[in-house]
C-alpha cells in the first residue's frame, strides 16, 4: 500500500497541534468602550450559565439532548455583539446559543428546540434577527447569501452573518455560498467557529490545508484567522468585516479558532476520540477568564470582584428563569402540525387534520 488514508498514521491522543491561548485579552489602546466590554463579559457569563443549566436539564430528562457550546462563548458573543440589531441578521446552526443570548432572544423560546417542542425553536426569528435553529450542517449558509443579496437589492444597509463549523467547511453548500457571495459582492460575513472537532473528526482529517480562513483568498475575499477565545479580537474583526460589507466592500470570511470543551452533544462520549489532556489544556484558555483578568487589570471593572459576582447572580437568575420556563412550557398543539405547512391549507391536509382530530378524540 503506497500511501494510506491519513487516518492510519494518526495518534489517537495527539489530535491538535495548536497551543491553547491562555493570555489575557489585550485591551491596550482599544476603541471598544468599557460598557461594551462589560456587556461582552455579561453575555458570555450568561451563556455559560444557560449552557450548564441546559446540560443539567438534559441529565434530568427534561431535554432529550443538548449541544453544549462551552469554550466557544467568545467566538459567539464577540461576533454577534458586532451586529447592528436593527438591520443585520444572523443564521445559526444548532450550537449558537450564546449568539441568541447576545441578540436578546427569549431563552425559553430558544430552548424549546432542545426541549423537543418545535424544531426551529419558539422564539420570534424576525424580531430576534436570528433565523430558526438549523440542523443541516452547511445548509443555512447559502440562505445568508440570499438574505444579503436581498438587502443589497433593496438598498437597505443590512448584512447577514452566517455561522458554521469546521466540519461544515467540507460541505458543498458552503463553497457554493462563498463563491456566490463574492460574485455578487453580497454583504455577508462568513463566521466559522473552528472548534477543532466535527463530532469525532479532528481538523486534520477534515480541513485540507489546515486553514479555513485561507480558503477566502480563492474567492478573492478577505479571510481572517482570529483567536476565537479572545472576545475582543472576534468583536473587532467582525465589526470591521460587517462595516466593509455594509459599505459595499463585499463579503469576508472569519475563522475564529476555538475549542469545543464539552462533548459534541449530551449523547457523545469524547473519550472515544480525544484525550482529556488536551481538554484540560483548553479549559485553561477560558474566554471568560481571559477577558475578566484583562478588565480587572485595566480597571474596567472594580477590583473587588463585585462586578463578577453581580453578573454571576444575574446569570443564575436568567438560567433559573429559563429552567422554570422550559419546564412548564406547554407542548404545541397537534393542530400546529397542520397549520404551518401552507399559507392556506389544502383540502387533503384539512381532511388529514380532521382524521387526526377524530382519532385524538377517540384515543
Amino acid at each position: 500500500m503506497s500511501s494510506p488514508p491519513r487516518d492510519q498514521d494518526r495518534n489517537a491522543s495527539s489530535t491538535t497541534d495548536a497551543t491553547p491561548p491562555t493570555h489575557p485579552v489585550d485591551l491596550t489602546g482599544t476603541d471598544v468602550s468599557p460598557e461594551v466590554l462589560r456587556a461582552l463579559y455579561r453575555d458570555m457569563v450568561y451563556a455559560r450559565h444557560l449552557d450548564d443549566e441546559a446540560v443539567a436539564l438534559q441529565r434530568q430528562g427534561v431535554f432529550p439532548a443538548y449541544v453544549p457550546l462551552r469554550g466557544q462563548e467568545a467566538a459567539q458573543v464577540g461576533s454577534a455583539a458586532a451586529m447592528d440589531r436593527t438591520s443585520d441578521f444572523a443564521f445559526p446552526t444548532y450550537r449558537e446559543m450564546a449568539v441568541a443570548v447576545t441578540l436578546g432572544v427569549d431563552m425559553v423560546g430558544y430552548m424549546a428546540s432542545h426541549r423537543a417542542l418545535w424544531h426551529g425553536g419558539l422564539y420570534d426569528p424576525s424580531r430576534s434577527r436570528l433565523a430558526p435553529i438549523n440542523a443541516v450542517v452547511g445548509g443555512p449558509v447559502p440562505h445568508a447569501v440570499g438574505w444579503a443579496l436581498g438587502a443589497q437589492l433593496d438598498g437597505t444597509p443590512g448584512c447577514a452573518l452566517a455561522y458554521f463549523g469546521d466540519g461544515a467547511s467540507s460541505e458543498g453548500d458552503v463553497h457554493e455560498a462563498m463563491n456566490m457571495a463574492a460574485v455578487f459582492q453580497a454583504p455577508v460575513v462568513f463566521l466559522c467557529q473552528n472548534n477543532q472537532w466535527a463530532l469525532s473528526v479532528p481538523n486534520r482529517d477534515q480541513v485540507a490545508g489546515g486553514s479555513i480562513a485561507a480558503r477566502a483568498a480563492g474567492y478573492g475575499m478577505p479571510g481572517h484567522e482570529v483567536d476565537g477565545n479572545d472576545v475582543l479580537a472576534v468583536y473587532t474583526t467582525t465589526r470591521a468585516a460587517l462595516a466593509r460589507a455594509r459599505s459595499g466592500g463585499g463579503p469576508s470570511l472569519i475563522e475564529a479558532r476555538t475549542y469545543r470543551l464539552g462533548p459534541h452533544s449530551t449523547s457523545d462520549d469524547t473519550r472515544r476520540y480525544r484525550s482529556e489532556d488536551t481538554e484540560r489544556q483548553w479549559a485553561r484558555a477560558d474566554p471568560i477568564e481571559r477577558l475578566y483578568t484583562a478588565m480587572l487589570a485595566a480597571g474596567t471593572v472594580p477590583g473587588d470582584d463585585s462586578f463578577a459576582a453581580e453578573v454571576r447572580e444575574q446569570a443564575q437568575e436568567a438560567a433559573a428563569s429559563m429552567r422554570a420556563g422550559v419546564r412548564v412550557a406547554p407542548p404545541p398543539s397537534g393542530e400546529e402540525m397542520f397549520t404551518h405547512v401552507f399559507s392556506e391549507p389544502t383540502d387533503e391536509l384539512l381532511r388529514q387534520q380532521r382524521a387526526w382530530r377524530e382519532e385524538v378524540e377517540l384515543g
Binding site: G139, V141, G146, W147, L153, G172, H340, S343, E348
Partner: protein, 363 residues
Amino acid sequence: MSQLLHADSGQGPGTAVSASASASASRRPEAHHEGPDLRQALNAALDRALTEDPRTLVLGEDVGRLGGVFRVTAGLQERHGHHRVFDTPLAESGIMGLCVGLAMQGWRPIPELQFDGFAYPAVDQIVNQLARMRYRSRGAFPMPVTLRLPSFGGIQAPEHHGESLESLFAHVPGLNVVAPSTPAEAYTLLLQSVRCDDPVIFLEPKARYWDREQIQLPPPDSTQELDAAPLGTSRVARPGRHATLVCWGSMVRTCLEVAELAAEDGVDLEVLDLRWLKPLDTAGLAASVARTGRAVVVHEAPLTAGLGAEVSARLMERCFGELRAPVQRVSGFDVPYPAGPLEHQYLPTLDRILLAVQHTLEF
C-alpha cells in the same frame, strides 16, 4: 377494439428538438399553426409577474443575457433590469439556498434550474429548507418561491435531460407541484404559482414548448383578473363516457391523440388533465371515475413509486364501488431514461395506452 392498436403505429409523440417541431404536429388535436407557443406563454406570464409585483425576481443559470436555453426568459433582463433578472453561478443547491434567503427578505424568487436532472443536486435545499422554512419558523418566513424546471422527455436530449421528478416532489410536505399542458394553461398556472405564497415546483413539458395555441396573451401590465380555477383543480381536457385517461404535462397531448383514435372506433375516452400534482384533485378524479367507471393513468416517470400509484390508490380509496376495472398504469419502465431511438420505446406510446384502454374495457 384490437384494430386500434395499429391505427397509429410508428407515430409516437413528436420529437421537438428544434423550434420547427410543431410543424409535424398538424394531425394532433391541440396543434395550431398560429398563436403563441408554450414558451412564449411562459415568457408572457413571467413578464407580467415581474411587472405586477416589484418583489419578484427571475434568476438561474443562463436566464439573463441568454434568456435561458429554451429562451423562456428571453428579453426579460432587458425589460426588467439586471437586478430583477440575473444569471447565477453554476450551483443548483446554492441557487435554491439563495432563494430561501431571498424569500426570508421578502422577495418572491422565480428560479430556473436548467433541466430536470439537475434539480437533484438541489434536493437538499428544496426538501430540507425551502419546503419547511415556513413550518420551522411557524409562519414567520413564508416561502413564495416558484421553481421552474424544464421537465419530462421526448426531445432526444443527452442524459439527465428527460427526467420526471413529480413523484419525488409530491411526496414532500410543504411543496406544491404543477405541470401545465398547453400554452394557455402554462400562462395561467405560472402566474397562479408565482402569486401563491408557498413554494411551487413548476414542471414545464419541454417536448411541448413548441406547441402553439390560438389564444391572445394579455399584455404584461394587464390588470385583468386571471381566469383560473383554484389551485389544485384538475381540468377535463376532453369529456368522455367509457374510461378516464388521467395525465399531466406532455402526456396530455398524447392522451388526447389516443382519445381521437379511440373515438374512431366508437370508444369515448375522457381525458383528465390533473395539472396540479400536489395538491392532487381527488374530488376531480373521483367525479370523473364516477362517470366512466374506469381509469388509466399515464406518466413518463418509471412505474414503481411513480405518481400513478398515488392516483390509483386514491381512486381505490374513493371509488372502490364504482371502479369496474382496476386502474391501469401506463408509464416509463423501471429503467434509467434512455437515449435517442430508445426514448420512444421507453415513453408511453399511443399503442401502449390503447392497449391499456382495451384491457380496462375488456376487464
